[in-house]
């Protein structure tokens, strides 16, 4: 028998809410196969199974808040698909003492059965579905009067008679809610300033010529190339690699860079590459690739999302000029990287101004106006441009 415990979710995180079990009691599970999902105030993560075998007990129900280290399930590694005879509830009460979940555990079947009555959006008949569709009415906006809240033909016809759905109320996902809370706090607490500078991005011609892969096989993105320059420029602009809280500016010796990442229908996450100051392009490319892998497999933990001192927000489409990102609190600045574009540029050849094809990128900086101003921001961005132009891609990749 192997105990499944709630692993550490990050240094400052002591508990999480079990939001979903991917396996049920009696299911076979492979080692490292996603077993359950846990939600913290930072992120929703899928937890891999620590062992291969058969899930014999689930000790923490969906919705339970569980302390890290607490037993949440038991896996029978002998691989026999027999289900434990003793009730999970009983087992948890006696065997998970100090590290017990904060709410009482329950067995797989829910102790108190709650049932929705007068639910919205329950469609059981294809005929009703078509009436709603033809009438332009979203099922989720209709309260059913049938058994179990089912929308009857009469309900549907009444709803259609009232006209097509103008508004649909959507519940926010956990991620969207977390993003919203953070952004609201940031906008309300920090007066945002913004500056943008167009810089030469010809160095990316070198990247393209040498290949978009590091020596150890990780993808080299525009973002990582420009971030290298941005991180190095921070050495000269210490007040931008800082946190501001309680009227106090704290400069950080280490540079930990967060990268904004969109999560489909779940808001935005900002995974952090810690201690990035000394990284070469190759190392940064590897570190961001690792974070992105964990993001894709929902394996990011709270530590991955904490401790940032500066943030980079990259263009996600080919024609984005710049964005005006909101500062990730309690940091003081966030760099916006526009799309790297081929543009006509004026150069002087033999005393004559001519138009050539060049590569440019607009860098922007959202900054906390209590700490920085437009002049300083523009100066920083110009410096990033210089360092970018001088980057020795050949030796760093």
């Amino acid at each position: 028998m192997a105990d499944v415990t709630l692993p550490s979710l990050g240094e400052s995180v002591t508990e999480g809410i079990i939001t979903q079990w991917f396996k049920k009691v009696g299911d076979a599970v492979a080692r490292d196969e996603p077993l359950f999902e846990v939600s913290t105030d930072k992120v929703d993560s899928e937890m891999p199974s620590p062992a291969a075998g058969v899930l014999t007990q689930i000790l923490a129900e969906e919705g339970d808040t569980v302390q890290t280290g607490a037993r949440v399930a038991v896996i029978d590694e002998s691989g026999v698909a027999a289900v434990a005879n003793d009730s999970p509830a009983g087992g948890a009460a006696t065997e998970a003492p100090s590290a017990a979940p904060t709410s009482p555990t329950a067995s797989a079947p829910r102790a108190e059965v709650t049932v929705n009555t007068g639910a919205t959006g329950v469609v059981v008949s294809p005929v009703v579905r078509r009436i709603l569709m033809d009438g332009g009415v979203e099922a989720s906006t209709v309260t059913g009067t049938g058994a179990g809240g089912a929308i009857t033909r009469r309900d549907a016809e009444r709803a259609v008679a009232q006209g097509p759905t103008e508004e649909v109320v959507l519940a926010l996902s956990n991620g969207q809610r977390r993003m919203g809370q953070h952004m609201s706090v940031s906008v309300l607490s920090a007066p945002h300033g913004f500056a943008a500078v167009e810089v030469d991005a010809r160095v990316l011609d070198d990247v393209d010529a040498l290949g978009r892969e590091t020596a150890d096989g990780f993808a080299i993105t525009d973002e990582s190339v420009i971030t290298i320059a941005a991180v190095r420029a921070l050495a000269e602009f210490e007040f931008l690699n800082a946190t501001f809280a309680d009227d106090q500016l704290t400069l950080h010796r280490t540079i930990s860079v967060g990268f904004t990442r969109h999560v489909d229908e779940d808001g935005m996450l900002v995974p952090v590459v810690h201690a990035a100051a000394g990284l070469t392009l190759r190392a940064l490319a590897r570190r961001t690739a690792e974070l992105d892998d964990r993001l894709a497999s929902r394996q990011l933990n709270a530590d991955d999302l904490m401790g940032g001192t500066f943030t980079v927000a990259s263009a996600t489409t080919a024609h984005t000029l710049w964005t005006e990102p909101i500062i990730i609190q309690p940091e003081v600045a966030v760099l916006s990287i526009g799309a790297v574009r081929q543009v006509p540029v004026v150069v002087v050849r033999d005393g004559v101004a001519v138009v050539e094809v060049g590569r440019r990128v607009i860098l922007g900086l959202s900054f906390d106006h209590r700490v920085c101003d437009i002049a300083a921001a523009a100066k920083y961005l110009e410096r990033v441009g210089e360092l970018l132009a001088g980057l020795d891609v050949a030796s760093e990749r």
């Binding site: 049920k24 005879n85 009730s87 059965v113 008949s125 005929v127 058994a147």
Partner: protein, 473 residues
Amino acid sequence: MTVANEVQKFDVVIIGGGPGGYAAALYGAAAGLNIALIERDKVGGTCLHRGCVPAKEFLETAHVRRTLEHSADFGISTTGVKVDFAVSQARKNEIVDRLYKGVSGLLKGRKVTIFAGTARLDANQIVTVLDGADAGVVAEGTNVIIAAGSIPRTLPGFEVDAKYVLTSDEFLDLDKLPATAAVIGGGAIGCEFASMLADMGTKVTILEGLPSILAGCDSEVATVVQRAFKKRGIEIQTGVKITGHTPGKKGTAVNMEGAEDVNVEMVVLSVGRSPRTQGLLGEGTGVEINDRGFVVADGYMRTSNPHVFAVGDVVAGTPQLAHVAFAEAVVTIKTIIGEAVVPVDYDRVPWAIYSNPEVAFCGLTEAAAKERGYEVVVKKDPFGGNSRAQIIGDTEGVVKIIAEKRADGSAGQILGVHMAGPWVTEQLGAGYFAVNWEATAEEAAALIQPHPSLSETFGETLLALAGRGIHVG
């Protein structure tokens, strides 16, 4: 495997292994629940061993005989047709046994723990096996499902002796059929028995206390059956008040108030089924039982104790049908594991009576629709004009559809589909969908029925209901 008095814990303990109980066990086990099922006799319950399944085998025997009797119509002569009912009885037992083994195998395959014996539910979801091979076993369920089923009701003055007076339990064990019989109770079970007996050559009298047989059916459908029965020599006396019976040398006389005795070899009681709840509940279970002994449950099959559910014949106010029990079992398990579920809509479950002619229906009867305040549009189509019905030589019957009348007088949503006639139990599906999907006459009429088929009669009725028929006005 059991140690006396040691409490064995399960996610769900199910009392009774009939359709409701075994369906809950299989469906629950498929959902990963650890399940114990306690059965006093054999899994499969009344339906498989003493109800639907054996009765249908006998009715099929009657069908074969009827076919042979009419074979000359097809130019196939059969002489010396002999009936050895014991062979049919043995065949029935074989079928039942095969199905029994099937259910047992499924339960074993899903690792359901089966205890043999009669169960009693006590407080805190503790279930004790009182007798049988596993007497003394104590099982505790996080949740308990009562699926204890029902037993045939009897009448005062009619001691069941398996000789003169039989219920369905005894009737289905007969090796030899009587020359004369009285069937007391003209409901679904009574009509099936009467039909079968008549087709097998028994002189049958149906005695019904209500004004007509098949009281729950639409009256026009009941009339079709009544007419067909009378044509086959079944005597039907309705509105009777039976007082008892007087056994004689070669049979017994059924006594009635204000009517002549009916002298028969055998009396078959089919006057409904009582819940098997006597002795089922100990102290402090918190489970409410109504004055007729049925367990009270809500649409999610929850009793007044939130950890105790009830399914099947034992539930108050719901149709005593195996397929309803199956559906209730699914509702129960989904409720237990917290999945979204829509309760069974009891007004719209399918009904099937396997008499000759068969009856099948779903939704409201014309009378019930009017009682509920609907203005209705009704269309009927007899099977007489149906090509397939003529080919199989079985044209007796009708399809009747009841729809809500719209303000302009046209037929709107279909409220009920009622059928009597050849193979209607197999034809009801389309009507069942129409009623439960809340289709209108036009919506359902736009769909095609194959030709030639018995189901065209349903299609024709829909077309007529939608305003204009092809063959029917």
